[in-house]
Amino acid sequence: MSYQPHKGFFILLLLLLFGAGSIGCRNLEQRPVMKIGYMNCNSEAETMARFKPLTAYLSEQLGIDFEVVPVDTQDFEERFAAGEFAFGHSNSLLYIMLKETQQAQLIATEKRGQYGARTAGAIISKKGSGITTLEDLKGKRMLYGPQLAPSGYLAQYDLMLQVGLDPEVDLAYYAIPHGSFKHEKVVYGVYFGEYDVAAAPALDLELMIAEGRVTADDFNIIAQSEIIPYCTFSAARSVPNDLVVKFRKALLSLTPETTVDYNGERIRVLDSAWITGFDQLTDGDYDPIRRMAKNANMPPYQEF
């Protein structure tokens, strides 16, 4: 007697084939692809390592395949204007530049360190150097951070101008370190006596103290700037508002426990990006940077 397969068996087989086919089709469906430009703090490798998991999380939340584009600080505005990436993660001064020249949309501000979504710049000298006031800076050797660093250059430059000191005239000379880790080099420059004073971001000092590389008692804080927003996510003018809102919501809903699948591992998004969270600041919260940039004749308000 030959075996006669039941009619139901064929129907089930057909259904399975149809189901598998539709799943396969779904997998082949193309998700939109967009790019996020991340400002390099130290190196491309570091930027990729920090922000790839966060980007994977954003892709997961928004259903868009985001790609990470590491961007050097000085190229950021030009590449953003050229449309190389629709979203940008940059320092707050770059955000102002993008806002003023490209009408970028503010998304959210990164939280890191004791100030949360804000930070500040400080002018430091070595304890025992006798340099304790801004007046003492006259004729001294000073080390600054990179020129577009709001809390490592702009804030200190502005602080000096506010008390009538012109860094271009009143200092013996000033310099900006080469290569990566400029902010740390600035702190070490003073720590090891190569320079008399330095423009140190409060956050970098804080991190170096937390890691035990220096102590709070090693330095005099000669002056401190007002607080200004920290690194910022923004979007190009062309990005639809509902996508900006979704992007913001995804960032604001991040908690220290949020994880993402990345390279076969389940990892914590915020930890991997060295961030403690995001806040929604208003564009008006960035006005202190605008004032500083105008006072220091820096972009986007530079006049020649």
Partner: protein, 178 residues
């Protein structure tokens, strides 16, 4: 009519009661002169709490001094350094909160104050040596209207969170049983 058994029991009760009263009254009388291990856990705890309050106020005094001189960045860096030795200590959060509020980082400062009060209610307790009631009351009264109006103008989750935290502090200041 009670039998002999009852009478013995009653007598034993009377004797035991007299003994209890005698020992208990002796205990009460000699209370002030007792030393060493006999001073009791409540007294021991009171001493520990006094020592803890003294220790905190003394250890974190440099931060207070820097804050008084309005050297906020230096004060915050000192807080960061002390946190390495005393991680999780709510007094650090109170100090951090007060410095941040002075500097205008209002929402972050409010969050730090609330984090400290959640762990240690002494900061809103008028009877405590760690009491910061006046400071926290001022913070709540000064910042509530501003945060409320900011939230009305812009339904922003950061303001929403700050408002919720302020209500928490307001509730703790209002007292009640918890």
């Amino acid at each position: 009519m009670r039998d002999r058994f009852d009478k013995i029991c009653l007598l034993a009760i009377v004797v035991t009661l007299i003994a209890i009263v005698a020992f208990a009254s002796g205990f009460v009388r000699s209370d002030k002169n007792r030393v060493g291990d006999e001073r009791g856990p409540a007294v021991e705890r009171a001493i520990q709490e006094q020592v803890r309050a003294n220790f905190l106020l003394e250890t974190f005094e440099p931060v207070e001094q820097l804050k008084e001189k309005r050297e906020y960045a230096a004060a915050l860096l000192k807080v960061q350094e002390l946190e390495k030795s005393y991680p999780g200590e709510p007094h650090l959060q109170i100090l951090r909160g007060s410095i941040l509020v002075e500097q205008g980082a209002l929402t972050e400062g409010i969050a730090r104050y609330a984090a400290a009060v959640r762990v240690n209610g002494d900061y809103v307790d008028a009877n405590s040596r760690l009491n910061r009631r006046t400071e926290i009351t001022r913070l709540v009264e000064d910042s509530l209207p501003g945060i409320k109006s900011s939230l009305e103008a812009d339904p922003n989750p950061t303001y929403k969170k700050a408002l919720k935290t302020l209500y928490y502090l307001q509730s703790r200041l209002a007292g009640g049983c918890e």
